[in-house]
Amino acid sequence: MQVPAHFGYDRATSIDHALRLLARHGDQARVIAGGHSLIPMMKLRLAEPEALIDINGIDELRGITVSGDELLIGALTRHADLLSSAVVGEHFPVLHDAERVIADPVVRNFGTVGGSLCQADPSEDLSAAFVALGATGVIRGAAGSRTVPLREFHLGPYETAVAPDELLVEVRVPIRPGGSSAYTKVERRAGDWAVAAAGAAVWLGPDGAITDAGIGLAAVGAEHFTAPEAEEFLRGRAGDDAALVEAGKIAAQHCDPQADQRGPADYKRHLAGELTTRALRRAVARASGQEA
């Protein structure tokens, strides 16, 4: 039987209340939302927080809204709600592509967007998708709010820019015209973590040329989940297949996959390139109206 070590348990009723509880416990506390990453780690004693601060009752952390030219996603939004949101699918198909291959429907009922980002597993899918979209995280602390680009959010495996006395409250995704996006993933079996995965977003000019591109890579050791060299290569180029293949090759060259039970490093590097190209192809097809 897997049983977590003893811990104290507090239920936060507001963001401010959660922040006060975090301040009281220091770095010995962990925030729990869906718990579908944290509880397994606690059962294996890989995590042994002295206290859990349950934020499930904080309604202000929930919800998906469009405000001006941004999509705002509350940190406590469940994966299932992101997947079923029409406005998310309309603007950012990469998020629906990714959600369809995150765990399984029952896990998606409880796992949260903010929890996935803050767990910061190197194979986590939404991190790569949000990086491709140029999203920003809103972090609240006792001194107020600050924003951190998702590209600077992940400091390393299981480590983020959120300090022990802070809380990720929202993800903001800029809505920009003329673009679309896609996500591709190879997994050993349905619902597993990625062997490798790639998210891509492209914005096309009136002549069909790529004015901007975003690429996120999961599970292949890409720093901050990013592929900046491949993005830079694409800017200003025609979105023809040769360019998308070359961008994939560049992304593969610059990541740093590690061999593990999911596969050898050279296989993962191959996947990083191929999946980047496929995600780009689909994003371009969607942006140019050739594919839903």
Binding site: A5, I39, P105, N109, G191
Partner: protein, 166 residues
Amino acid sequence: MMITVTVNGERHSHDVEPRLLLVHFLRDVVGLTGTHWGCDTSNCGACVVWLDDTPVKSCTALAVMADGRTVRTVEGLERDGELDPVQRGFMECHGLQCGFCTPGMMMTSRWLLDRNPDPSEEEIREALSGQLCRCTGYENIVRSVRWAAENPADDSTEASQEVSPS
């Protein structure tokens, strides 16, 4: 910590450790052993119950997180001695072999049918994709859910709303 959880319409108040998992609360404290404790890693889905109106893998939820909420287990599927159509479907179509995965399969199937009364085979397989049958009896499980879809209870809508505490 004192918690009160309404399980299948009955309120249960107990003093529990925060680290107690929901599956063990249901089996060992409340005494409802229909919910099975399987892989313990949120992979197999044998432990699926409803927390409020949503299926959850109860090996990956804390009992304290269910405080003040309602839980529906496989024991809460039947109504006044009448089996739920999902239970009848599993009987009619040989949807259970060893029976270990069955409670979780049925709880997710009921949830699917409440939201989608006429699911395709693909939709059933997607809904149950987080649940494993070690007998590999998936063909008959899918047939069982289809049987339930084709043979709904006369008052199925009403019955599914009876979960709230009395």
